[in-house]
Subunit: 226 residues, 2 copies
Amino acid sequence: MKTILIIEDDPAIQQGLTEVLTEEHFKVLSATDGEIGYQMARRECVSLIILDLMLPGKNGRDICRDLRRDGVKTPILMLTSKKQEADKVLGLELGADDYVTKPFGVKELVARVRALLRRETLLPSAIVETRIDNLSIDFEKQEARRGKRSVSMSAREFQLLRYFVEREGNVITRAMLLDDVWGYDVTPTTRTVDNYILSLRKKIEHNPAKPSHLLTVHTAGYKFVK
Amino acid sequence: MKTILIIEDDPAIQQGLTEVLTEEHFKVLSATDGEIGYQMARRECVSLIILDLMLPGKNGRDICRDLRRDGVKTPILMLTSKKQEADKVLGLELGADDYVTKPFGVKELVARVRALLRRETLLPSAIVETRIDNLSIDFEKQEARRGKRSVSMSAREFQLLRYFVEREGNVITRAMLLDDVWGYDVTPTTRTVDNYILSLRKKIEHNPAKPSHLLTVHTAGYKFVK
DNA sequence: ACAGCCCTGACAATTTTTTGACACATCCTT
DNA sequence: AAGGATGTGTCAAAAAATTGTCAGGGCTGT
């Protein structure tokens, strides 16, 4: 689950945002003072920061600049009162990623939050494509093909395989898979995992019954090797 | 290490860009005057040029055109103030590869820089016209015709199709479509998207029920292939 | 008022995900 | 080394989720 830090002194907005975002299944942290918010942003591991421009303690402008200077790359969504301010906030001098002017619509805000988070997850240049024996896989395009024959995989299968490929050689427990690939909110049986392993093997292994890539580590989990 | 040439007269942006790109491990050269920048672009060996549209000395538009005329193939990322300008900058007449409108977020800019560098072939990223089977489409004129029979499409349909065509082969989620094609202020249902896909298929596919271009990627979104 | 777009809601069709049953393998005790 | 206990492989069918499709209502510009 993604955590969002809200740094905002107006209690009405603070509370409203918290409610909305919680409802949208985000975890929310908050600070009403600039200096405290800044410290939290540095210490806590959050996915996105919603930052008011005007704050007691330390204003949003400074927080933003300082965070960037500290090397914090978390996306920042600025709340401003005037459009003119907003233009200055963006651009490079400060390093915010997007802004919303008050008064703002809840839907718009949530949409922007989601957009920022999505862009975020697209950026890290994790593994985009790979090759297992003569099967080539493009995770971004969600395509897998053996020679010119395309092999169909569901979205979850791609996710799962990617998870393994990115952690090549490490033992992956079922719990890790359930947490990271499925998420906290759903809890299928561990049998579900086995079934996906099964179908992945059918697609990537030459002899699914004697796997050479997606190995089982008894009582522990699975391991992918190339 | 890749070298990036920045041609930009506003010192704030100039400096900001330099900082950010340096931090991202690029080597940065810069010019604040158009004519000087143009000369540098011709002489120095750089991997990418970030070019402001409005410049003293020689404006970005001319620099871009002249560089292309000189046979310089280096990717060019334009900085513009208005979206309308941007659309004109792209396309073939000038030869820029991508653009960012001010104010822009750091992440977006860096992402675009990386994308351009990754891209080996210098395709202009804005497609003005295309052909799908025997259907020819002109996005600028908003015309589509199959042979001499014109096929009517609404503005939104053109937008949507263009979005797909420009991202050929990539999986496009409904959220991306809603954010990028519809925008943040309106929030139609995802069902709306499906309906547009439906009507686009009726217009571009030979057999809309068995699409061969506008494919659905179950649980993920859609994908356009030619 | 009319035509054309845009959006919504309902329901059907399809695909994916999960479950449950059972065979088989491995581990750990005795 | 035998035998139970537990963990895994496998399949098919049920359950859930996603997408396809259509008809209709609201809105806008003419």
